[in-house]
Point group: C2
Chain length 369, copies 2
């Protein structure tokens, strides 16, 4: 990489990370969990980038979460320790891969919520003469998992009889709590969800199962879940980058959630000026994810309104801005939703001011298996 490269040299659309903001976000979260005596296993599905995982470890994380097996394989190849795969690994072919992964990264934790799946893992572990670290995935977030309380305890008991599986604890991800529009709403929903997990933890320990881990938390609930006794570690992801979606919710101490700064943007170029007060930029729905109702937001030029104009283009209305746009102008946009937008790019340009200080490969991009 040419050390003299600046933002102006980047081909657009380009995914850009403000390194000062990113480092500040990471430090702030790491300090928060450290001060509360919790563990820190930030979710790598947000960034899919080994360099960022390494930065998290250096900041005090004892590992990272990945959403899927194939994502975990990439981080294991890059020597990242303490992997927790937050989706169950189902089916013969994937379990063959899980055996290999557990061979090279034996501290990896696999979640289960289904007895047959646990049995498949146990058999594969036996055949390969390895052990799988297992956590129960609890249904506290309206998505996956075994119901907390008695059903979870019963499943844990059945799993305990299966050889080759080492029970490590619980995962309790409450996604529906993370985006509540006020802090109070998030607090109410998250306390309700996570307290079921804490209760399950107690029941399990009473039943004779030590539960070293209870992994919970998100960017929206980190300062809620970290106050709950029984939660051992947090697994937030978006705080590293932030996005329009998270920036819209309310904060604990302020009207707007400003705990972490928007560090991630997409740099675009005006490629056509066919209509009055409207410019076409070279970034459309292959450059920004479209799963949220809000569009990208211009970072530096007030009054610009972006609208998607197909796969490859966006239409920027500048009738409310104090400047004209012309072909060749470059515009930076804060992204609607960080995780799926990062997943569109092969690399991330780390900028210090206007200088390109780092080019990081999004090595687990596309690894949704």
């Amino acid at each position: 990489m040419n050390a003299e490269r600046t933002k102006d040299d980047l081909l657009t659309p380009a995914l850009i990370l403000d390194l000062d903001r990113f480092e500040s976000n990471l430090d702030k979260m790491a300090r928060h969990v450290r001060e509360r005596g919790r563990g820190f296993r930030p979710h790598a599905k947000t960034h899919k980038c080994p360099e960022i995982a390494r930065a998290a470890i250096a900041a005090g994380a004892h590992g990272i979460c990945t959403a899927k097996l194939s994502e975990a394989e990439v981080f294991a190849e890059h020597g990242i320790p303490g992997l927790l795969i937050t989706t169950a690994v189902i089916g013969r072919r994937k379990i063959e891969r899980a055996v290999k992964l557990a061979g090279v990264a034996p501290d990896t934790i696999f979640v289960v919520d289904d007895e047959n799946n646990a049995r498949d893992l146990s058999e594969a572990a036996g055949a390969a003469k390895i052990r799988f670290n297992i956590a129960l995935d609890l249904y506290v977030g309206r998505r996956t998992g075994i119901a907390p309380g008695a059903p979870a305890v019963e499943l844990a008991q059945r799993i305990a009889r299966l050889p080759g599986l080492e029970f490590q604890g619980l995962q309790a991800y409450a996604g529906h709590a993370s985006h509540g529009m006020t802090f109070e709403e998030r607090r109410r929903v998250s306390l309700e969800a996570v307290s079921q997990a804490v209760e399950t933890r107690c029941l399990l320990e009473k039943a004779g199962f030590p539960v070293p881990m209870l992994s919970a938390g998100s960017t929206g609930t980190y300062n809620i879940d970290s106050e709950i006794d029984g939660v051992t570690e947090l697994q937030p992801g978006s705080f590293l980058f932030m996005d329009v979606d998270y920036a819209r919710v309310g904060g604990r101490d302020s009207e707007k959630y400003s705990d972490f700064a928007c560090a991630l943007t997409v740099l675009t170029t005006v490629v056509s000026r066919p209509e009055p007060k409207k410019a076409i930029v070279d970034a459309g729905l292959k450059a920004f994810s479209t799963d949220k109702p809000w569009p990208p937001e211009a970072k530096d030029v007030p009054g610009l309104v972006y609208g998607f104009a197909g796969d490859e283009h966006g239409r920027v209305d500048f009738s409310q801005a104090d400047r004209e746009l012309k072909v060749g102008d470059r515009l930076e946009f804060i992204i609607p939703h960080c995780d799926p937008t990062v997943n569109l790019y092969d690399r991330l340009y780390g900028l210090r001011g206007d200088k390109v200080e780092a080019v990081w490969t999004i090595a687990a991009r596309g690894r949704c298996q």
Copy 2:
């Protein structure tokens, strides 16, 4: 590749192409344009895959379109001839790359709609002692381009004075015509749009500019634009794969658009069964694009209703289906919108029945620059 691999061996989510349907779609379109005496330059932004570009050339295409410069670079590396880049190449760094591309693929056509951009291209061509083939991008589709008629003729005249640029003709893509809900609506809109391009072509020829190319057409208007005298070639893309979005519009001779078959699906696995009559599959908004209002549609099991459940998961309601779903079941879904969904995957599995006959790299995936 193991010749014995079947669909059951694929890790999910997997992007799957039914090769029989794909080949039939390609043959049908190729025959259509050939019988009407038009050229055929199908748009590769849909598939981003050199093997598919090669199949199109073998079926009679004289080239392919790409949306962006970086996409064209990939196809040039793979030896695909007749590239037309349908977005203007703006800025010093991109023009440096365009010079290199024109060196290895001298028949590449670049579109322009801005005099300064044409001047930049001309200067770069002069410095590198090459020539750029240029087409005027016409504003007939509510996106990019110079206004048809007098403004286009005037721009052509200015460009003609610039050394190093070889005028090849016109591009007239009317995206707003392609998804009209009835054939008659698409016909009305496309005739209005494309007739302006044909008129501009006549004006240019009267003014002494031969216009060898007028490139138009989409999957929604191929059998409209191919009937318009003056259109020299079609550039449809989605017909190769089809999707929920195109399958919803009306056909010319039937209520539903059934000209081409849905050939592309995503194979998923049920990973959790936490609620009655609902199953969680391992494919969410990193596995399907979300830019259309309709969700993925189950291919083989009637009555299933898919809903997005985050980045990595989908929630499948099977209360209206005639079977239960259990962890480990595999479900195939027709995708909402083909282009941005393909852009999420690194490879495409070509299936003949259940046998994996081909594994094609989506080599230009992520190339939105």
